[in-house]
């Protein structure tokens, strides 16, 4: 099951003037290379999803 985190922040009401900005066409910032520490259940889950080619949702089941 997805790990849902309850947070205590309560965002304020939208300003009357707010209009959702039109699609910006922007892409996410480039990724960087890192070396994971091969330990713990989270690493196991990460590898399992990759090896068995599972999405997060499929892996939840």
């Amino acid at each position: 099951m997805a790990n849902v985190v309850d947070i205590q922040v309560v965002p304020p009401p939208l300003p009357a003037s707010w209009a959702p900005p039109a699609s910006t066409g922007k892409a996410t910032a480039p990724l960087v290379e890192r070396r994971l520490l091969p330990a713990g259940p989270a690493y196991l889950a990460h590898v399992k999803r990759a090896v068995h080619k599972l999405t997060f949702e499929e892996h939840d089941q």
Binding site: A2, N3, V4, V5, D6, I7, Q8, V9, V10, P11, P12, P13, L14, P15, A16, W18, P20, P21, S23, T24, K26, A27, T28, A29, P30, L31, V32, E33, R34, R35, L36, L37, P38, A39, G40, P41, A42, Y43, L44, H46, V47, K48, R49, A50, V51, H52, F56
Partner: protein, 631 residues
């Protein structure tokens, strides 16, 4: 097997599905071993920190702290510091350092192999049993056992390691009452392939199956991310691991993201550690001794052979002094019988005085921590949690010193109160615990299918699965607000932090304020990538002691400004926005609110998908989603 009465079936054999596995912290100075439930096991002498020392005395072999005590009178037959030499050729070992234990020599037969030469007594062969037929009556009395004979024994570094590991495992088996079936052993980050291979071989020679060689930083991460132990800390956090052992300081800046960890930087300093602390402490006590007895004593460096013997005694005694100081705030004693010229020594030191004496070591740790975060492009203020590893990190003065550079709300095992009584934050047990938890994880992996074997192989050294890509900017939700304070113009909720390995998923649930107005209500937010930094402001300290200041303006000039550091967040890239009508809003005290769930999903290429649901009585409502392509 005991004889069974006829007709009874064998008692069912208890077959546990979980094999008996242990975690071993194998340091250069001390080792510790933990079992499945991650508690450290004491050896037969009641020690949980077992000195990595093997000493030969006559027919006896001492291992552990008993062996360390042999450093005073039997140093040339006492072997220490072997862990760091594993997998090294003789020619690779620097010979400049004077050794207080058995010197490392070139093996007499094997080329370029490091070894030790010790004097032992070899047990004489037992006398032949007498037989009735050929023994003359006169000599029918038992043949006296002949004396053991002195002999020389050559041991390679690997053989010493095997002897030591065997004894560790034996202690664990005695305690558990079961055979140990496998172990995860910690190794320093800088251990090269040859060193790893040599350790694995030495363990195998000791009859120990190595499940995984685990980097020390990883062992610390496992212990601190295991649910029961994380004390209300966020699952996404930056951790500074401070490992202060005997002969070195190792620092790691870890990015922990829902338990998935990687190192953003590592730094070691061989000049900082418990040995350096001992140098200062024994110099302090030597001075005390001279003051009290009017007998000259120079230690570290020693003044002569007699002083060297005294130094060895003081070093052993200092161990107890340091442990007392970290365990309680009162004064600690140091006593040595016949320290020099037959004179006994009994001294005390308060924690305050001790901290003063070793201040330079604490300060060096803080300076190196600063250098580490700098090199990683971060700041000490980014550190959410400090984890202490290594015996010398048990000293509270170290935590107090580091606090000067860290955020006020940083969590350390001292602030969390988990150091005392061998708690989960105890720096001397944390690595063995992590290894034990990891051993359990690895030992229960299936290997029936090709894929399962692949998953299992991901824990072996150099697995390709450790190669990952991570985000380079924090991305989150900005809820715009009328007349909001601050530069962002609304409520900022960071969702996927910078340095999160992909693919990743984060799901947040929270209430949204919809205001007082009736009619159609809308939930909406913008998705931004932000630039995080630290703002340094120089402020003049408040002048409250005006009267005490001298009249001439000179002092005024020299008055130092204080640096005030603050973390900052700036908008950088607006990626997209998401909005939907709230249908399940509830009114309380005149204001409407509704509960929402928002999920950020980043795929292996960096593409982002954001989904949101209103959460009503029957769970998730309609899904709204938008996506942002990878660059």
């Amino acid at each position: 097997m005991a004889a069974q009465p006829n007709g009874t079936a064998d008692a069912p054999i208890e077959v546990s599905l979980i094999p008996t596995v242990v975690g071993i912290n194998f340091g250069n100075s001390y080792a510790s071993i933990a079992e499945g439930s991650a508690e450290c096991i004491a050896n037969e002498d009641g020690e949980r920190q077992i000195a990595c020392a093997v000493s030969f005395h006559g027919e006896e072999i001492y291992i552990g702290n008993q062996a360390k005590h042999q450093l005073v009178k039997n140093s040339k037959n006492t072997i220490t510091g072997f862990r760091n030499l594993l997998g090294k050729k003789f020619s690779e070992i620097p010979s400049d350092k004077p050794s207080v234990s058995a010197p490392v020599i070139q093996h007499p037969e094997q080329p370029d192999v490091a070894a030790y030469k010790v004097q032992v007594l070899q047990a004489a062969p037992s006398p032949l049993p007498t037989t009735a037929s050929n023994t003359p009556a006169a000599s029918n009395a038992a043949t006296p056992r002949s004396e053991p004979t002195p002999a020389e024994r050559i041991l390679t570094v690997s053989e010493v390691t095997t002897i030591f590991l065997k004894s560790l495992v034996q202690s664990a088996e005695d305690f558990l009452g079961k055979k140990v079936q496998g172990a995860v052993i910690s190794v320093p980050t800088w251990f090269e392939d040859a060193q790893r291979a040599a350790l694995e071989q030495a363990a195998e020679d000791a009859g120990l199956k190595v499940l995984q060689l685990l980097e020390e930083a990883a062992a610390a991460a496992v212990t601190t991310t295991t649910d029961a132990t994380s004390s209300g800390l966020p699952a996404d956090r930056t951790q500074l691991v401070v490992d202060l052992g005997a002969s070195a300081l190792e620092l790691h800046l870890l990015s922990l993201r829902e338990g998935l960890a990687f190192s953003r930087g590592t730094l070691s300093d061989r000049a900082v550690g418990g040995d350096a602390i001992d140098d200062k402490l024994i110099r302090f006590f030597a001075k005390e001794f001279t003051k009290k007895t009017k007998t000259a004593l120079a230690v570290s460096p020693a003044g002569g052979a007699q002083d060297a013997r005294a130094e060895a005694k003081l070093r052993l005694a200092a161990e107890h002094t340091k442990r007392t100081l970290s365990a309680s705030p009162g004064a600690a004693t140091c006593s040595v019988e016949s320290l020099k010229d037959g004179l006994d020594f009994a001294g005390t030191i308060t924690r305050l005085r001790f901290d003063m004496e070793v201040r330079a070591v604490y300060d060096a740790v803080l300076a190196r921590a600063r250098a580490l975060v700098d090199a990683a492009g971060a700041d000490l203020l980014d550190v959410d949690e400090v984890v202490y590893v290594g015996g010398s990190a048990s000293l509270p003065g170290l935590d107090e010193t580091l606090a000067q550079g860290l955020r006020e709300d940083v969590v350390t095992p001292f602030t969390a109160g988990t150091v005392v009584g061998g708690g989960v934050g105890d720096p001397t047990t944390i690595l063995a615990r992590g290894c034990a938890l990891q051993a359990k994880l690895v030992a229960t992996l299936a290997d029936g299918t090709e894929e399962e074997r692949e998953v299992r192989a991901a824990f072996a050294g150099g697995s390709k699965w450790t190669q990952a890509r991570a985000t380079s900017k924090t991305v989150g939700m900005l809820f715009p607000e009328e007349g909001a304070e601050g530069p962002l113009g609304g409520q900022w909720i960071p969702t996927v932090l910078k340095d999160t390995a992909v693919p990743c998923r984060r799901t947040l649930r929270f209430d949204v304020d919809l205001g007082e107005a009736e009619g159609e209500k809308k939930v909406g937010f913008e998705v931004w990538e932000v630039k995080e930094g630290v703002k340094i402001e120089k402020v003049k300290p408040p002048k409250d002691e005006e009267e005490d200041m001298p009249e001439d303006g000179e002092e005024e000039e020299e008055e130092e400004e204080i640096e005030v550091k603050e973390r900052t967040v700036e908008k950088e890239n607006l990626l997209t926005a998401l909005h939907f009508a709230a249908k399940e809003a509830k009114k309380a005290k005149g204001r409407w609110t509704t509960k929402v769930e928002v999920q950020f999903l980043i795929d292996e290429n960096g593409a982002l998908e954001i989904s949101a649901w209103e959460i009503g009585a029957s769970g998730r409502g309609e899904k709204t989603s938008v996506s942002v392509p990878a660059s």
